[in-house]
Structures are given as structure tokens and as C-alpha cells.
Amino acid sequence: VSDELEQLLGRVPDRVPAAPPETTARVRDEVLRAFRRRSPRRTLLVAAALALVAVGCFGAGRLASPTHAASDLTIGARPDVVDTQNGTPVTLFGTVPSGRSGESVQIEANECGLSGLFHELQGVRTEGQGVWSMPIPGNYPQSKVLDYIRTKTVYRARWNGHASETVTVYARPSLDLRQFVVKRRKPGQRNFGITVGGQQLKYRKRIVLERRVATNVWRPVKTVVVNGGLGLFWARVTKGQIVRARIPEGEAAPCYLPAVTPPWTVK
């Protein structure tokens, strides 16, 4: 009886009738109306932000060319944070307002720490429903055209004289902490080496060595200035203590996100 009962119970959802067509249409209108109600406000905010940026850029003599946002020319990136050490592949994607396939879309990029201007990256063609996508490889060199992402990069799409809003792909720098054994200078001192990856993080960057004092509570032990991406230092930590290195937000900005190494037990 139990099996039969469970089978009968399981079949009930299959008998559910479809939603009445008039309900489906009414709810669709309601959803889209509610969605569009939010859009004008969003568009105004975006327009205001673009105007501010344009004024700022014009003042600095950096306005490359006049652009305006087309209403449904969209761009997105997945994922929007990459790891510069392991090389994270990113896919840029979006739509064009016409919704047609075969349309030409130019993708432009502006890398942090370089010229500050957008430059053309590559052209793509839209597919069904006006959707386009463009993969960016995770490691160099996989493509002669596209570089991999090494720093925070802003992208936008250009179609038919219109420019989309921008999308930013953030970069997390690689940080590597190693302990190495040399003749100790004093009892209790340990020697470490730290490397920082990231084109814009090569010189005079302050890295903090921290030790764990309680769960999720870290206390700074020493600040190390890294030059040329490498820093060698000693610190007064004891065997068994858990340490990590951290590049704070203030040091990583503007081109990178802050980063920490995995916790390391002192030997």
C-alpha cells in the first residue's frame, strides 16, 4: 500500500492545470511594468554618473570621444573577480537593442594603471536574440589578440555608434608567504620570504605579517616593504603560531583588491 500510495502522491503534481492564459499575460505585464518602473530611476542615476565622469574627464583633457548609452545595449562579465596568479578565464557577454543576430559589436577595454583611455579589444558578432559573448583566456598566451587580465579592467561594448554602460572585472593579486631556514640571528626569530604578483604592485608596497590570536582575530606582527615583487624579512614569532600575510586595501588600490595568504603554521 505504501509504494502505491507514494506513487499516487507523486503523480498529483503532473495533473496540475496550466495557468490560465489571461493570468499569464496579466502577470507578465505586471512583472515588466514593475521592472521598467525601476529602470528610469536607474537610467537617470547612470546618466548622472556618466555626466560627472565626462565633466571630470573633460577637465583633465582625457575625453576620448562623445558617447551615449543605448537603452538595451548591455554588457556583463562572469566572473567579475579574477585571480592574477592562477589565471581566471572571464566571459564578457551582453545584448544589443535590435535583438538580431549577426550584428557587429566592438569590445573596448580600459586597464587600470595604463593610459586611462578605452582601447579597442576585439569585435564580436551577435547570435540569437541579439546576445553576444566573448571569452578572455585565463593564462597568457592563449590568444594572440587578447591578453589575459592582469589588473582591474573596465569594459564596454560599442554598437552602431552607441556605447554601453561599463562593467568592471576586478583583480586579486597573488601573494605568497614562505618560511625558510637560515642561521637564526636570535632565538625566536624566523625568516620569511614574500612575493607579490601584479604589474602595478612591484614597488614600495607594504605587506603586513599577522599572527592569529583567536578565531578570526589577527594581530599585526610586522610590516614589510616589498620592492620588485619580493621581500625577505625576519619576524619574532614562535613555533606553532599561525601567521599570514596581507596586502591591505590602501596598498592594493586602485588597481587591485586586497588579498591575504592562506594561514601558515610557523615551523
Binding site: V1, S2, L5, E6, L8, L9, G10, R11, V12, P13, R15, V16, P17, A18, A19, P20, T23, T24, V27, R28, E30, V31, L32, A34, F35, R36, R38, S39, R42, T43, D72, T74, I75, G76, R78, F93, G94, T95, G99, E127, G128, Q129, G130, V131, S133, E165, V167
Partner: protein
């Protein structure tokens, strides 16, 4: 070409009405079905499904982009149905729209099960609906109803025993 949900969700978050429309086409039938099995009648199903799907699109930014959209929407529908159920008294119409004009053997058996579920005490009926009609496991039901796992398991077991007894009684008659 079928555009995957994650891409459509990203586009919707960036303001694409086309993406919202496409997502609606994909998920409205499901939302409706979940709402119907949770409420048992067209009137409440309409209210619950509409509220849930409007809320889902309004609060799209709260959806974790690493997780699928369907289960998230389903949970909104279920929570909304539970709220409705707590606020209002149970309606007498219960799966009446399912009754075919010309019933066959299968539908008669299925109707008997539906009627038996309707006759269960409310707490037991809820776990049966969540488990067999909405596909939730006991642990998920425990989370939804904020109950210990053991309570849910015991309610499920007792509800099945009740159903069995009701159906046996019907057969004897």
C-alpha cells in the same frame, strides 16, 4: 541557441527587459505549478505565484548568482504560500480544478489520495505537500518550517500512516 539562466540573470540585473521577459517565460509555469500544489486552488495559486514572481524579479540583486534561480524562486513561492495559509483559513476548494469531466480509474485513485490529504490535520498535510508535491527533503522541510528534523520525519511517517488508514477505510466501503 538557448541562453542559459545565469547569463539571462546577469542581463536582467543590468536592466534588460528582454532578459526578464525570457526568464518569465521559463519560470512562470513552474511558479504557477508550485503555487497550485501548495495552495490547492486557482484563486490562491494566482495570488501566491504572482506575488512570488514579482518579488523575485524586484529583489533579483539578492539572488546568489552562483546558485540556480529555480530553487530560489520555489522557496519564495513556498514561503508566500505558507504566509497565506497562516493568515487565512483553509479554503474548502481543494484541487477541484483537477477533476476531469470523465474520470478514469487512475484519476479516481488519485482523487481519493487528494481527498485523503485534504482530510489530514494541517501540520501533517503541510509536510506531505512539501515532500511529495514540492519535492523537498526532510532536512529542507525542517528549515522551511523551522522545526527539528526529527519532528518533520515523525510528522511525515504519521501522515503516511493516516493516509494509508483513510484509503483502506475507503476501500472497505
Amino acid at each position: 541557441m538557448t541562453v542559459d539562466d545565469a547569463l539571462l540573470l546577469d542581463l536582467a540585473r543590468r536592466g534588460s527587459a528582454d532578459a526578464v521577459s525570457e526568464l518569465y517565460e521559463r519560470y512562470w509555469p513552474l511558479a504557477w505549478r508550485w503555487a497550485y500544489v501548495a495552495t490547492g486552488n486557482v484563486v490562491d495559486a494566482e495570488d501566491v505565484a504572482q506575488d512570488a514572481i514579482c518579488r523575485a524579479f524586484r529583489e533579483l540583486s539578492r539572488h546568489d548568482s552562483n546558485r540556480p534561480f529555480g530553487p530560489w524562486l520555489k522557496r519564495i513561492v513556498v514561503n508566500r504560500a505558507i504566509d497565506t495559509y497562516r493568515r487565512e483559513r483553509r479554503r474548502t476548494e481543494w484541487f477541484e480544478d483537477l477533476r476531469p469531466a470523465v474520470p478514469d480509474e487512475d484519476t479516481v485513485a488519485s482523487d481519493a489520495v487528494i481527498a485523503a490529504v485534504h482530510d489530514l490535520p494541517q501540520q501533517r498535510r503541510t509536510v506531505i505537500v512539501l515532500h511529495y508535491w514540492l519535492g523537498y527533503g526532510a532536512e529542507e522541510i525542517a528549515q522551511i518550517l523551522e522545526l527539528p528534523y526529527g519532528t518533520v520525519a515523525s510528522r511525515l511517517s504519521r501522515a503516511l500512516a493516516n493516509l494509508r488508514a483513510i484509503l483502506e477505510e475507503e476501500r472497505v466501503r
